[in-house]
């Protein structure tokens, strides 16, 4: 009985650490993946596309994540895959954020007809379902590398951010401290960048991580359907090949499970950072 309660307490403590450290945990995992991606050539013991061993070897010390039917080292592939998968995420995050910021901020700052038009466009893009559109576009442009995927995800994914930024802009623009800056004679550009924008940073960050999550998942889905370029190494294509070679049926679970878990882990950490920032911006959640 007592031991049980102790246990419960312990778990509770872990959870509470987890709760406080949600953002920290997420950030550490993301940093870890980024490090892996950058250092891929140093970390990966083998070339990701060379046949380096017998096919379909379960994880072992020489092949941490096992090998696939082509005798490729899956650890090396996952490490290299982190590179492109993250790149797609980061690129989409950056492009989308810039796009959302431009649209959202202009709509929010200028108001009037500009706002009406931009908001309508934003709402339309918000409603039109993303993935089907992406699939259709991707089918048309005959994807060769990851760049078109980044492009497609970005042009379909900016609307949410734009909407958030717009409303934030609208509230900030009417804050007294902005009015005060105007009365003091600050230049409008300086007002946007020194008074308003810094107050939106957490939101921009949250949006960035949200988009990254979306991009990483979407990229994986597209690659999985075979709409990407299956010859590059990303987590999505690793899954594509695993699926094509029926890794699960072969008993090569490691081929299928590990990259999927990597996506999920990256996804969770991105979502966590996003969520934590959400809590920070919304003080009501923080007190939880």
């Amino acid at each position: 009985m007592k031991a049980n309660r102790m246990n419960h307490k312990l778990i509770k403590q872990i959870i509470s650490i987890f709760k406080i450290k949600k953002a920290a945990f997420g950030a550490i995992v993301i940093l870890f993946f980024i490090l892996v991606a950058i250092l891929a050539p140093l970390i990966a013991p083998y070339s990701p596309s060379e046949m380096v061993s017998l096919p379909v070897q379960p994880p072992s010390w020489s092949h941490l994540f096992g090998t696939n039917t082509y005798g490729q080292d899956l650890f090396s592939r996952v490490v290299w895959g982190a590179r492109l998968s993250l790149l797609v995420g980061v690129e989409c995050g950056i492009i989308t954020s810039i796009f959302s910021l431009i649209i959202g901020l202009s709509a929010g700052y200028f108001g009037g007809i500009i706002d009406d038009i931009l908001t309508t466009i934003t709402n339309i893009f918000l409603i039109i379902p993303g993935l089907p559109l992406i699939i259709v576009i991707a089918a048309y442009i005959a994807v060769k590398g990851v760049t078109p995927i980044v492009f497609v995800i970005s042009i379909t994914g900016w609307a949410w951010g734009a909407r958030v930024f717009r409303s934030q802009m609208m509230t900030l623009r009417n804050r007294d401290f902005v009015k005060a800056a105007v009365v003091l004679g600050e230049h409008p550009i300086r007002i946007i960048f020194f008074e308003i924008f810094p107050n939106m940073l957490s939101l921009v960050a949250a949006n960035f991580f949200g988009t990254m999550l979306y991009a990483v998942l979407t990229e994986a889905s597209l690659e999985f359907i075979g709409l990407g370029n299956v010859n590059v190494v990303t987590w999505g294509t690793i899954l594509y090949w695993a699926q094509n070679n029926q890794a699960l049926m072969l008993g090569a679970w490691w081929w299928f499970i590990i990259p999927g878990l990597c996506i999920a882990l990256l996804g969770v950490s991105l979502a966590m950072v996003n969520f934590a920032i959400d809590e920070i911006t919304n003080p009501r959640l923080k007190r939880a």
Partner: protein
């Protein structure tokens, strides 16, 4: 009322936008359907037969773009999307007619289940904050939100259908039964795909609903309700959940698009005879007429669902009804 009219206007505008995107896309891209057709028949076809087929498809590229656009709109209005290439000579329309009920059934119900379940869990977990189980909903929700649908679907398929033989491997029905038994059979086939969608989609709802609920719980009217001596249940649902659900109604649009996207993948994995599966076929064989029509259909479905969500929102929130706020 005004709000509704505005929403209807917006709905029409969005439909028009979707239509136009649909029209512009293939015209921006290189290549033409004739090439695709050669591809489709994998060289089995002689040039003569090819020409004859082109005529059958009604492909004529030498037309003013505006005329084309006008024609396109006209045809779409009539539900005339042309002939599918993958399923030649099936009209795209009948392919849609054949697959839409499956998708609506599967995705519709599972989305509703996911929404209800996620919402309920979100409400509970916000209400019972600081309780171990309730707080676990956050990491679990985050995890579910972050796993790729197709991956989960394949895993489930392997585990539950192949290894454990609990569910069929593929298809929407076994085609063996008629009458009531057929209904049961169809339900049986839909359990696993629906389960996948529910599991993957409810994560997001749990999180947003929890956040909304926590926000609402710190509102003064909740304390006021407690001060009135109302019972906990009443406070939780009538005062808490009822208000917390409102922002979700507008968030529905985004989520719905996302879920439908995800369920396309689910259908592909489970060989479910819905539009997702057909889209996969269309994409694989570059069946543009079919692809476009499916995109249009999905957009329409999302738009309409969204519109319904808006209407519900109006019913639930009197402030909007009188045109007060967006």
């Amino acid at each position: 009322m005004k709000y509704l009219i505005r929403k209807i206007m917006f709905l029409l505008l969005t439909i028009w936008a979707a239509l136009t995107i649909n029209f512009i896309l293939p015209r921006l891209m290189p290549g033409n359907p004739a090439e695709v057709m050669v591809a489709k028949f994998r060289g089995k076809i002689t040039p003569q037969a090819m020409n004859a087929l082109k005529i059958a498809f009604g492909i004529d590229v030498h037309q003013n773009i505006f005329v084309q656009y006008f024609r396109y709109i006209q045809n779409t209005m009539k539900g005339n999307f042309g002939i599918s290439i993958t399923y030649f000579p099936m009209p795209v329309k009948s392919m849609l007619a054949q697959s839409i009920p499956w998708t609506l059934g599967l995705v519709g119900t599972s989305t509703i289940i996911a929404f209800t379940l996620g919402t309920l869990l979100g409400i509970k977990s916000a209400w019972k904050r600081n309780n171990f189980l309730a707080d676990m909903s956050v990491p679990i929700g985050l995890f579910l939100k972050s796993i790729p649908y197709f991956w989960l679907a394949l895993l489930f398929l392997y585990l539950f259908s192949f290894k454990l033989s609990w569910f069929p491997l593929a298809g929407g029905s076994s085609g063996k039964f008629i009458g009531f038994k057929e209904v049961l059979d169809i339900l049986y086939h839909s359990i696993l795909p629906a389960f996948t969608i529910v599991v993957a989609a409810s994560g997001g709802w749990i999180l947003t609903m929890r956040n909304n609920m926590i926000s609402v719980l710190s509102e003064d009217y909740i304390t006021f309700a407690a001060a009135k001596g109302l019972k906990e249940k009443e406070i939780m649902y009538k005062y808490g959940a009822r208000n917390a659900i409102l922002p979700n109604m507008t968030g529905f649009a985004m989520a719905l698009g996302f879920i439908i996207g995800g369920s396309l993948l689910t259908e592909m994995v489970f060989s479910y005879p819905g539009v997702g599966y057909i889209l996969y076929q269309a994409v694989e064989s570059l069946d543009y007429p079919l692809m476009q029509a499916i995109f249009l259909f999905i957009s329409l479905a999302v738009l309409v669902a969204n519109f319904l969500a808006d209407v519900t929102y109006v019913l639930l929130d009197p402030r909007v009804r009188s045109g007060g706020k967006e």
